[in-house]
Symmetry: C2
Subunit: 462 residues, 2 copies
């Protein structure tokens, strides 16, 4: 007799074309959270999710208004009070994208090419979110029920570091109460090397504003007597790293928990060679802290990156303006036990200490999030290992993630439940970059792995 | 009996309202030379000038097509073969401007407020150009003739460093042949302190492009292992000046003719105090080479300024992109005897020598122009002194200009004629900045000074 999970998996395979059409609808909505001009798209996206959750059989579906962008909630409680409840955190917002960034096709008009879907957000995180929806649908359309209770929580502010998430969680603690949290918003190096994240970095994101003269000046009239704000900004940024590429902010590393030999050995299992890093990124040569391997740098070490520089005239031709101001956007990825607020204070104090008196410098915090580290020996994480083995077809390894999902630390801290991060994407699927994509095969395996995971969680709970 | 010049001056005073209406028409045309999107506005501007020159009585009026943007030419040869011929160089193109730059009103919808006209280009150089047109018109409408022959040459590419001017001059040497060249494209500290420029700086304008990874990356995935192009650019820019604010490019100062004590004394006559510089620019503190006075720095010393920085995301919110590239626009103001091409080569070689192997760096020349130094003892320059005394009402002093009018060096070198730079604007009229303005009083005095100058040139020639 064919098992319940196999029936559900077969349903998912049989309905692939319908699923793709639904996913295309979702990807066409440019739900950018960073740009207030897209507020109506955010609203459209939330309504689409509400309608879709209702259509697949979720109940108590609602758009939860917040102090920021709305959350979409829906649940399936049909497994009964004795079955475990899985809270599924995902996010429907995306980062900006445009053809000028190097996309081959319109980022908000999805295309299927050589078995891959290309669209902003298909990997991060709409496509991964979609696998959870389809896993529930597959159970309900075949067995008529699922083995676990499920609570879907779709965040609208993940890409702007979920500034209201802690409050939303606090205010909806009863509604969201669960035994564990599943998140699929991460990646793996190749389709046969799935990974379960048990650590994520935190973040502090800030802007540096340098103001010089009160208005733009003519460089021939005042050049050489005014500290050019773009020059002053470059000088400040050039002092944020030491010559060995470590971060120059005093006390920055004080609270970093040193890597143990055992941890370094586990990280070494997913070593990234210089050649691989160069091939995957296109960079001419590797950069960074020489005392740490590439895998350590991108997962277990804190970093500081410049995200944007803006000053003066960058259009065509030679405009001889001496700009009145310059600005930069930067962030730090943080690891246990760094405190994002404390790190921001240290950065601010350092920049103020090196700011010359010839310009006026402001350092402003945009967002921050705590790092998180979760034991991989918990049964909910071990159930994920079996789900990949049976549903995906390969044994996963546990890794520390380089990215930041600010919600993870809050979920772990406020709800005291394990957070299981089962990613269904590839490292080079282009999260935040041009030509973001996700293969149909990975989406299919993601759905089937989720189906099996629900079953494994139910079994390990009983 | 009222003199011919007085009649012409009276005509100009009587027709001030008509003149303002004509100038408003010219200022409404956004003739931006740096932006190809404004090609049709450039064309409209050239046609307006052609029609206006014809209307005031110029002959042989024509739009001269060039390899770049068109030149507008018109002449008055009625003074006869024995009278001197004055070539008047001006430019009808302007630099970009928009409300977001801090303008109180639309930069291309001129307004008259408290006796001042506000509009992009009113000072640099449309308003000053206009004074020459009106001087000829005033003579022709009163005496029916002018004391000198006049050739108007309106450049369309001055703000992009006149890349085709040398060729245009070479190809039209016969048409443009003259005994001297008048340019009004400069300024004075206050209405009672007119200045005649006898030196202008040259320029080399270049871009630095830093390329890192082949596409934008996610900072959480690759941060800390890739040399961030925005960081690398900041590091390069921070090494272009020495700690004493001199320029760090080896050999940069090799060809600079040292200032003599006599020259320093002349420059000291127009000294700018720290307090004045701060009040005029709004900068918190003065910056620059401590061994030179502010006036020396802005006129007799070479400088290097950053005009623009661009990289990654500078819009609202925290986008965590690790940008694939970064760019900066810079230029140097050069003094005698610096060679712009040689200086560019030195800058390029220096930047390449400090460029790290972790990124790819390109240095590209945009435009360049020679510096120019003209003796103030020439009769054509002494006639200008008398023109200011009688026409403006104050004795001018000779100064070295901080800006660059690339055409000046070419005119001087190719035509072997004196170039007389009689500015009619104030230093703080906002050349290239927001709220560019010029007072009606200055425009009126400019017209009358030009009227007198034509007479003085005719007298000194006979």
């Amino acid at each position: 007799m064919i098992s319940v999970t196999d029936q559900a998996r077969q349903y998912a395979r049989d309905h692939q074309q319908q699923f793709m059409q639904e996913l295309f609808e979702m990807l066409r909505i440019p739900s950018l959270s960073a740009d207030p001009a897209h507020a109506s798209d955010i609203q459209r996206m939330a309504e689409w999710l509400r309608d879709h959750l209702t259509a697949i059989g979720a109940t108590n579906v609602q758009i939860i208004e917040t102090a920021g962008l709305p959350v979409v909630y829906g649940e399936y409680m049909g497994a009964g009070p004795d079955a475990p409840t899985v809270l599924i955190y995902s996010h429907y917002d995306v980062v900006p994208a445009s053809l000028e960034d190097g996309w081959d096709t319109d980022p908000f008009e999805p295309v299927l090419r050589d078995g891959r879907l290309y669209a902003r957000g298909v990997a991060d995180d709409k496509g991964q979110m979609f696998t959870h929806f389809k896993a529930l649908e597959a159970y309900l359309k075949t067995a008529g029920s699922a083995p676990v209770n499920i609570k879907f929580f779709a965040d609208g502010e993940e890409e702007i570091a979920s500034p209201h998430f802690a409050d939303i969680l606090r205010e909806n603690l009863e509604l969201l109460r669960a035994d564990l949290c599943l998140i699929s918003d991460t990646s793996m190096p190749s389709i046969d090397e799935p990974m379960i994240l048990h650590s994520l970095r935190g973040m502090t994101y800030f802007e540096i504003h340098v103001d010089g003269p009160s208005a733009d000046l003519h460089s021939g009239t005042w050049g050489g007597t005014v500290h050019n704000p773009a020059l002053a900004l470059a000088e400040i940024i050039s002092k944020l790293h030491n010559p060995d590429h470590s971060i120059a902010v005093p006390g920055f590393y004080d609270d970093v928990v040193p890597l143990t030999d055992a941890e370094r050995a586990m990280l070494e299992m997913t070593a990234i060679s210089d050649e691989t890093a160069k091939a995957m990124t296109g960079m001419p040569a590797v950069w960074g802290e020489a005392a740490y391997t590439i895998r350590e740098r991108v997962s277990a070490r804190p970093t500081m990156e410049v995200h944007g520089l803006g000053s003066g005239w960058t259009g065509p031709g030679p405009k001889t303006v001496l700009p009145a101001k310059a600005m930069a956007k930067l962030s730090c990825r943080l690891v246990g036990n760094q405190n994002p607020k404390d790190i921001f204070d240290r950065i601010k104090a350092y920049i103020e200490s090196i700011a010359p008196p010839t310009v006026s410098v402001r350092v402003e915090l945009l967002t921050s999030g705590d790092p998180a580290l979760i034991s991989h020996e918990l049964p909910e994480l071990q159930a994920a290992v079996r789900a990949y083995e049976k549903g995906w077809g390969a044994t996963p390894i546990f890794v520390r993630g380089g990215g930041s999902i600010p919600a993870v630390a809050e979920l772990y801290n406020q709800m005291k439940i394990p957070v299981v991060m089962m990613g269904y994407c590839l490292d080079d699927d282009g999260f935040h970059g041009p030509n973001e994509g996700m293969s149909v095969e990975m989406i299919q395996r993601g759905i089937e792995t989720t189906i099996v995971y629900f079953d494994e969680v139910a079994r390990s709970h009983s």
